[in-house]
């Protein structure tokens, strides 16, 4: 028995242990990984001697078995709620809960807060758009140009909203719908100026964020989460802008359009990024393809 993986005399053995533990906890939410990794390392240390070799370590790591992704019941719900207030890694967790093509469940525990997220990856697989294992790791092979292309969608929505208010400012009502009930009838009103500020804010802010993320050095999953989240929020702003300009500001389709539009915007972003990752991997393995 050893007290720490640093006691292993073989550098290859230490690396095998670290790689094996990292792989075992990779599916866990980022807030749990460090804690579980420490427990797995302690368990390994009990079974190893200082001169244990790489093969012995790989055999032990293989016996870890599936590491539960989420604690169940109320503990899992509370864990997710607490993690929702931790900004670090939120973007990557968003991508995780919205894009898991290998997981056939359509609903996955929400990355932030309580509830469920639509697994757009499973939807894409069922529609035949992508294979469950199209990418070795989602968005890690996606090329920089694809991230920049994806950031165009929220930018385009921001431009469209700005053009709408510029073109129609004089003809818009002084009071515009501020909120709609489930049946698409306005139940709150706001001034034209406030509506413009809100709609421009909910499209321009995400557009800037998406553009920054696309050009940043952050890992692919982080960038994908930020850009998809930006597209989702910007689409809410864009649909709201259109809805406010309707005669009497109402329509039965408003609430469904907000939900479907935001899902479609995020989904289109993630599918675009995943398909580019797939193409990059095919080019890697089949030069000339």
């Amino acid at each position: 028995m050893i007290t720490s993986l640093d006691d292993l005399t073989s550098a290859e053995a230490r690396e095998a242990a670290e790689v094996g533990i990292a792989a075992a906890v990779a599916d866990l939410p980022s807030g749990l990984r460090q804690e579980v990794a420490a427990e797995l390392a302690a368990h390994l240390c009990e079974e190893l001697d200082a001169d244990s070799d790489e093969l012995r370590i790989r055999a032990l790591v293989a016996l870890f078995g599936p590491v539960e992704a989420e604690p169940s019941g109320w503990r899992g719900a509370l864990d997710r709620l607490v993690r929702g207030f931790d900004p670090a890694g939120v973007a990557a967790r968003l991508a995780e809960s919205m894009w898991q093509p290998a997981d056939e469940r359509l609903l996955l525990p929400r990355a932030v807060g309580l509830g469920w997220d639509l697994n757009l990856g499973a939807v894409a697989v069922r529609l035949g758009l992508i294979e469950p294992d199209a990418e070795d790791e989602p968005f890690t092979s996606t090329r920089p140009a694809a991230f920049r292309q994806a950031s165009v969608l929220p930018a385009a929505m921001a431009v469209a909203v700005a053009a709408h208010y510029l073109a129609r400012w004089r003809t818009l009502q002084q009071r515009l719908p501020g909120h709609w009930n489930l049946f698409g009838r306005p139940d709150r009103w706001t001034s034209r100026s406030s509506a413009a500020v809100i709609d421009l804010g909910t499209t321009l802010g995400p557009a800037v964020l998406a553009a920054w993320a696309a050009r940043s050095d952050r890992p692919g999953p982080d960038k994908a989460g930020v850009i998809a989240g930006s597209a989702l929020i910007a689409s809410v702003g864009a649909v709201t802008t259109v809805a406010r300009s309707l005669p009497e500001g109402r329509g039965w389709w408003i609430q469904p359009a907000l939900v479907i539009g935001s899902a479609a915007a995020a989904g289109a972003t993630l599918i675009h990024l995943a398909l580019d990752g797939r193409r990059a991997e095919i080019s890697r393995d089949l030069p000339g393809q």
């Binding site: 055999a59 293989a62 290998a102 997981d103 469950p132 095919i282 393995d285 089949l286």
Partner: protein, 116 residues
């Protein structure tokens, strides 16, 4: 109900070994593995179980995933055993056989009736 849960847990514990054994025979793609495993009722899995397992085995360095041309349709991702996987498979197989033999020696003869 309890039997279903237990059987499911037992199956989960051996599916990784089964997958490694299959790709040791020859490189296979994901749906091919699912189909082959489903040919053995005791090892039947869904794609939703197999693909995350394949991803975990790839992260652990035991299998390698590479895209290859397919004679029918678009390229497919094939899984093959790595050097580490080749070294580990005999150890896992031996461990499984030892456990299996030990449990078998403890079980009462199969009578087809539940113990009262």
């Amino acid at each position: 109900m309890a039997d279903d849960v237990w059987s499911s847990q037992l199956r989960k514990g051996v599916i990784e070994l089964a997958i490694l054994a299959l790709v040791a025979e020859e490189p296979r793609y994901g749906s091919q593995l699912v189909e082959r495993l489903s040919a053995e009722p005791a090892l039947s899995v869904t794609a939703g179980t197999a693909y995350p397992l394949l991803a975990r085995l790839a992260r652990a360095g035991l299998v390698a995933a590479t895209w290859q041309e397919s004679p029918v349709g678009p390229p497919r991702k094939y899984y093959s055993l790595t050097e580490a996987g080749s070294a580990l498979l005999p150890q896992m197989s031996s461990a499984f056989r030892q456990v299996s033999a030990a449990v078998e020696s403890l079980l009462p003869p199969a009578t087809g009736k539940a113990n009262r």
